[in-house]
């Protein structure tokens, strides 16, 4: 069983990229499965189904999506083994810039789109910085200059990753990306495996559903802002 984690901001085109890449992967691995992590709802499983790819969906609902991911990824792997898959691809919505589902020794892909602006690679955090491969989407509707600047910025944020432009609609670049996926080695269980970076922490009353604002309702791991004016504001 091979495993690859794919993460990226919402609407970056993760599902489309995985579907186009799977076209090439299918020539090597006969059975490919996907586990799609999302928050409230998703209809992406229908897209996978249409593309002939087995998929399960995990919705974190009112739980922190990152913690939900870590608590379930090994179960996903066991499910995929039972189903006899050759490769399992996890797609996680990568909602919070602070989070990252990437696991040590498991190929990690980050999908971002170049419409998001030149500052985005800097802002995305561990999900991009700890990835082995960065797939950049939506390059077909921005200028060549913006593509080049964007790819430079990605390289600055993560000089170790290879950067591949992928068109989620035509599939251009997906062949190249499939090579990154095929570097996965066999993994039997994730029991004891380590995340590449910690997920966001949280223990405060809001973690258990508190809805009222005010210091009386704040206990535990609460962090208070420092009101520095713009000149010194954090970068």
């Amino acid at each position: 069983m091979k495993l690859v984690t794919v993460a990226g901001p919402p609407s970056a085109g993760k599902t489309a990229v995985i579907i186009k890449t799977a076209v090439h992967l299918k020539k090597i691995y006969s059975k490919i499965g996907v586990v799609k992590f999302d928050c409230l709802s998703t209809s992406d499983h229908l897209l996978y189904k249409k593309a002939g790819i087995s998929v399960v969906t995990g919705l974190s609902g009112n739980l922190c999506p990152d913690h939900y991911f870590v608590s379930n990824i090994d179960d996903c792997l066991q499910w995929a083994k039972k189903k006899g898959f050759d490769m399992l691809i996890s797609e996680s919505a990568g909602l919070c810039n602070r989070c990252s589902p990437h696991i040590k020794e498991i190929p990690a892909v980050c999908v971002i789109d170049c419409l998001a602006g030149a500052e985005t690679p800097k802002k995305i955090g561990p999900m991009l910085r700890y990835a082995d491969t960065v797939a950049v989407t939506k390059g077909d509707i921005v200028s060549q200059a913006e593509r080049e600047v964007f790819s430079f910025r990605v390289r600055q944020a993560n000089p170790k990753a290879s950067v591949i432009f992928v068109n989620g609609i035509t599939g251009q670049g997906a062949y190249d990306l499939s090579h990154a996926f095929s570097k996965a080695t066999d993994v039997d269980s994730l029991e004891g495996a380590k995340l590449r970076f910690s997920v966001p922490a949280a223990i405060c009353p809001y973690c258990v559903g508190e809805m009222t604002i005010g210091t009386d309702h704040q206990k535990g791991n609460v962090k208070k802002m420092v009101f520095k004016e713009v000149e010194e504001a954090a970068v």
Binding site: V142, N158, P159, S162, I164, V235
Partner: protein
């Protein structure tokens, strides 16, 4: 590479001026350039780093890797492509294409055919340096050689720049700021002069001038096309330029092609515009997914091109009149007499 970590950044910056930029990008401001990267990184607060999603090890190893890559980027700027060879494969019905085409810097090749005939497939084959492993079975070689696995994927689209009608500038910056950012990412030493040259050149291509301060997103269709062409010609590292249906009348097409040729680009252009098509040295006629004919532009066609350019010139005059708010009061029949 350990010695780099123990060299004062002021010294590193002499060879790698963008090294400061790297620290800025991870949110570290350097108070004293006499410090070494090791000292700077060691002094960072672990908890603050954790908050930002960083670790010291990562910053160190990324810093070294970034300098390596940037140096490589500089050297690839000098990498030269003498030729690109396309060896035919098969059309959709499996019929062999039987052609081999060698493209050299300064060549302009047009691609013609109906929508769906397979033009984008050909462009895609070039972009990924097909090795009989794409649906068309074509082979694409650089300098007469097949790129081996690692090279092929390392290049990361850097050999090919693209330009199409669908492309817009989307960043919210001024023309000057953005072109400077592009020049900086190319490690170009004299950024100011380069930016000026690109803008001057773009203004020559566009009918209407814009300045350093104009916002990218406020450019007219013709102006942004012109800027894309000038930038691609002068700032893009890619020796091959793929142009897809770029027929916008707001650009001086002849000058645009002359510029790309002067900058030693290999130009592949998908177009149905008669003037553009005849400006190419050759054109590939595509049908049913395959290259059906390779047509060399001959004397007869070139004579026709001159007439076409006269007609185009007249149409441009009418545009200028319209733009100025004039009435089009002229004997149109006489106006179009050649």
């Amino acid at each position: 590479m350990t010695e780099l970590m123990n060299t004062p950044v002021a010294v590193i910056a002499e060879e790698h001026p963008y090294c400061m930029d790297y620290f800025r990008s991870v949110g570290v401001s350097i108070a004293d350039t006499e410090l070494t990267p090791r000292e700077i990184i060691d002094a960072l607060d672990n908890e603050a780093l954790e908050d930002k999603g960083f670790s010291k090890e990562q910053i160190s190893s990324h810093f070294i890797e970034f300098l390596k890559q940037a140096a490589m980027l500089k050297s690839t700027a000098e990498r030269s492509v003498h030729s690109v060879t396309i060896v035919g494969g098969f059309d959709k019905s499996g019929t062999p294409e039987n052609f081999e085409l060698i493209l050299k810097p300064g060549d302009i090749v047009c691609i013609v055919g109906t929508t769906g005939s397979g033009k984008s497939r050909l462009l895609a084959d070039i972009e990924c340096f097909a090795q009989k492993d794409t649906p068309t079975g074509r082979t694409v070689m650089v300098n007469g050689k097949i790129l081996d696995g690692e090279d092929r994927f390392r290049l990361e689209n850097k050999l090919v720049a693209q330009l199409s009608q669908n492309m817009n500038f989307v960043v919210d910056m001024s023309v000057g700021e953005f072109i400077a950012m592009h020049a900086a990412s190319r490690m170009i030493p004299d950024i100011e002069a380069t930016v000026e040259a690109v803008i001057t050149c773009a203004n020559e291509l566009a009918g209407e001038t814009f300045t350093y301060e104009t916002a990218l997103t406020q450019l007219s269709g013709g102006q942004s096309r012109a800027l894309m062409i000038a930038d691609t010609a002068m700032l893009s590292s890619s020796p091959i330029v793929l142009i897809d249906e770029i027929e916008n009348a707001g650009v001086d097409r002849r000058k645009a092609l002359e510029l790309l040729v002067k900058e030693e680009k290999i130009v592949l252009m998908s177009t149905h515009d008669p003037i553009l098509a005849l400006m190419g040295n050759r054109r590939l006629a595509i049908h049913n997914g395959g290259v059906k004919k390779v047509i060399e532009t001959d004397r007869e066609e070139l004579a026709g091109l001159e007439i076409l350019q006269c007609v185009d010139e007249k149409l441009m005059q009418l545009r200028t009149m319209l733009r100025a708010g004039e009435k089009i009061s002229l004997d149109m029949k006489k106006f179009f007499e050649l």
